[in-house]
């Protein structure tokens, strides 16, 4: 722009002036040309013509440049620069027009059309000035909005509140904030793992050389240079607050997952032991009993026979005990047919009269089934009630397990609480008016 302006001044003003002597051209009242080197109307005329052509070319080139910039910009940037660029293009078009008008006669003059074009150019220039002013006002407004945001955020918003506030301030509903964790993962304000969508743009908010957050937004939203820095500065406290909260939540989530894994590993181990006992030890013992029986078929003496028979009976008792042990570890019915079948089998096996009021249909997550089963099994084992009632129902995505026993709990149920808690469930123990206890577990299962 400056080059064009300088070029025009030199070509149009100074160079022809070197060769024009108005007095020599018959203008008696004109003052003598102080710049005149020598009088050559022809040279002046040629220079004038070249200058007009040059001016026209410059104007057209600038129009093309501005148009190209406008065309290449994202929608957001276009909105941002339009108040300046559009009047500038209008102004340059009018300039080009006046050069084009002067092209025929070879020099700039001041006929009626020139007058009107100049007036138009003046108006366009004022519009450019207004555009620049508007730009400045908008920047101020954004800063003051951000400042208001700081005040708003001082009231420690809920998780995601910062993202929502920024989204409203910057007018991008898709805007979200992600926080990088020290281990390289990215989480949202709730501490959940999150990644920006493919079509979204990501602007890191940097403070003290460290990425404190990632602003995920629609492309072009933050083309205004320095805006990201402004946001990082304005929302400093809230950002730190939310980032730390997200970190804590993510750690909590990790902890919860590890708790679930511990319980799961325990169950897997129980199941493995159950199989090992059945397929290994029990099988061996049955084989042994069989061998003893075979030995009985050909006893060498009456005494041997008695010994062998006793040994065989002993082995059979061991088999029965092993079966009970294996069953208690992890009943086959639980893994094969689910909670309902396992509780029915329990009602068959236990010496406590056990009433099953309701049993759920279908299968649930094995973790949930195991938690529900062992809650009932352990409660009965520890309290040894004279009677018990169990009610299991699936309500609104939760499995509600209720165990009612006719006495107070003597032992604590911390391990069962852990098991239920690991699944995000709750365990409530309530002593009723009589000597009864009601244990209720709510397990998310949907």
């Amino acid at each position: 722009m400056a080059l064009a302006y300088g070029g025009a001044v030199v070509a149009l003003g100074i160079l022809p002036a070197l060769f024009l002597d108005p007095v020599g051209q018959g203008c008696g009242r004109c003052p003598g040309n102080l710049l005149g080197v020598f009088d050559s109307p022809h040279a002046a005329q040629t220079l004038n013509r070249v200058a007009v052509q040059l001016g026209l070319a410059w104007a057209l080139l600038l129009i093309a440049l501005l148009g190209w910039r406008l065309f290449r910009s994202t929608a957001a940037t276009r909105r941002l620069i339009a108040p300046v660029v559009v009047p500038a293009i209008v102004y340059l078009s009018l300039v080009a027009w006046s050069f084009q008008h002067a092209l025929g006669r070879g020099f700039l003059s001041n006929d009626a059309l020139d007058h009107r074009l100049w007036a138009g150019q003046a108006v366009a220039l004022v519009a450019v000035a207004l555009g620049v002013a508007w730009e400045w006002v908008r920047g101020r407004r954004l800063r003051s909005t951000l400042a208001r945001l700081v005040v708003e955020l001082a009231a420690s918003p809920p998780p995601g509140g910062l993202g929502a506030a920024l989204s409203e301030t910057l007018g991008d509903p898709s805007l979200t904030l992600l926080y990088p964790l020290p281990d390289g993962r990215r989480v949202d304000a709730y501490g959940r793992p999150a990644e920006p969508a493919q079509e979204q743009a990501v602007t890191p908010l940097v403070r003290g050389g460290r990425r404190v957050a990632l602003l995920v937004h629609r492309p072009g939203l933050l083309d205004d240079p320095g805006l990201a820095g402004e946001i990082a500065a304005a929302a400093r406290l809230a950002l730190d607050n939310e980032r730390l909260q997200a970190q804590v939540r993510a750690q909590f989530e990790d902890l919860r997952a590890s708790r679930v894994r511990i319980v799961e590993r325990g169950d897997t181990e129980r199941r493995r032991l159950e199989r090992d006992l059945h397929d290994g030890a029990q099988q061996r013992l049955v084989s042994l009993a069989l061998s003893l029986r075979l030995a009985c078929l050909e006893p060498s003496a009456e005494r041997d026979m008695v010994v062998l028979q006793e040994a065989e009976a002993e082995v059979r008792r061991a088999v029965a005990e092993l079966r009970e042990l294996a069953h208690g570890l992890y009943p086959a019915a639980l893994s094969e047919e689910g909670l309902g079948a396992a509780l029915q089998a329990m009602a068959e096996a236990t010496s406590t009269p056990l009433t099953l009021t309701r049993l759920p249909e279908g299968r649930f997550d094995p973790k949930v089934e195991a938690a529900a089963y062992f809650l009932v099994a352990e409660t009965l084992k520890r309290s040894r009630p004279r009677r018990a009632a169990v009610d299991v129902a699936s309500v609104d995505g939760r499995l509600i397990v209720e165990v009612e026993i006719d006495q107070r709990l003597s032992e604590d149920l911390t391990d069962l609480e852990d098991r239920v808690g690991a699944l995000d469930g709750r365990l409530l123990v309530r002593a009723t008016s009589g000597a009864e206890t009601r244990i209720r577990a709510e397990l998310p299962c949907g």
Binding site: R275, H278, D279, Q282, Q283, L285, V286, S287, A289, L290, S291, L292, R293, L294, L297, E312, V315, R316, V319, A320, R323, A326, H327, P331, A332, A333, E336, E337, A341, Q344, A345, A347, E348, A349, S351, T352, P353, L354, T355, L356, R387
Partner: protein, 215 residues
């Protein structure tokens, strides 16, 4: 009597086969997995197949599945399933398919040759056999009220024997009672338990077991 033995544990299979041979059974085939069992049965046409509930590949209920398949192919063949599980649900699963010529015994019975031989014979003759331990456990569930408490001791004995799959004649032999007395007990039991007396011996086993399993 011609029998086939199926168990993936080779020592157990061979020992059981030897014991059965010594006791007078004719072991016409042995199998270590369900496929082999089906093949052996097709070739040797036994009267009873003795099958371990746990067989390869997963060692869960392949034995039961094989038993069901054998019964589907030849309903006249007896099947005795040996199991480590004391739960009644596996026995019920077998009974619900074809409530005849079927048995469910605890595995450790195989060293008690008298019980095992009796079970094989009964299955071959068309009866059902349910392990006495399973029935005893169902009967032992304490009930403060309910129809079971109204039975006399003798009626409870008869009920247990019915649940184990014994026919009226079998019950007569076991309890040294006359057929008339047993019949009287049976109808008394059915009326006290408010069960419709079902025609046919096999449906009776199923009805009694279902009653006992209901909590």
């Amino acid at each position: 009597m011609r029998v086939v033995v199926a168990d993936d544990e080779v020592l157990l299979r061979e020992g059981l086969a030897r014991l059965l041979t010594e006791t007078g059974f004719e072991v016409v085939g042995k199998a270590g997995d369900p496929d082999q069992l089906l093949r052996v049965v097709r070739q040797s046409r036994p009267q009873v197949a003795i099958i371990d509930i746990k067989m390869p590949p997963t060692h869960t209920d392949e034995g039961l599945v094989a038993a069901e398949e054998l019964r589907r192919r030849d309903p006249s063949m007896g099947v005795l399933v040996l199991s480590h599980y004391l739960e009644s649900r596996y026995a019920m699963r077998l009974l619900q398919q074809h409530p005849e010529r079927i048995g469910y015994l605890l595995k450790e019975r195989i060293s008690d040759i008298a019980v095992l031989a009796d079970a094989i014979r009964r299955v071959a003759e068309g009866e059902c056999v349910i392990d006495p331990t399973i029935v005893a456990r169902l009967m032992a569930r304490q009930r403060d009220s309910g129809p079971l408490t109204q039975l006399t001791d003798r009626e409870r004995e008869v009920l247990a024997l019915m649940a184990e799959g014994h026919s009226n004649q079998g019950i007569c032999d076991k309890l040294f009672l006359s057929p008339k007395t047993v019949e009287a007990h049976v109808s008394q039991i059915f009326s006290k338990l408010d069960l419709r007396e079902v025609p046919g011996y096999h449906r009776r086993v199923l009805a009694v077991l279902t009653f006992l399993r209901t909590p």
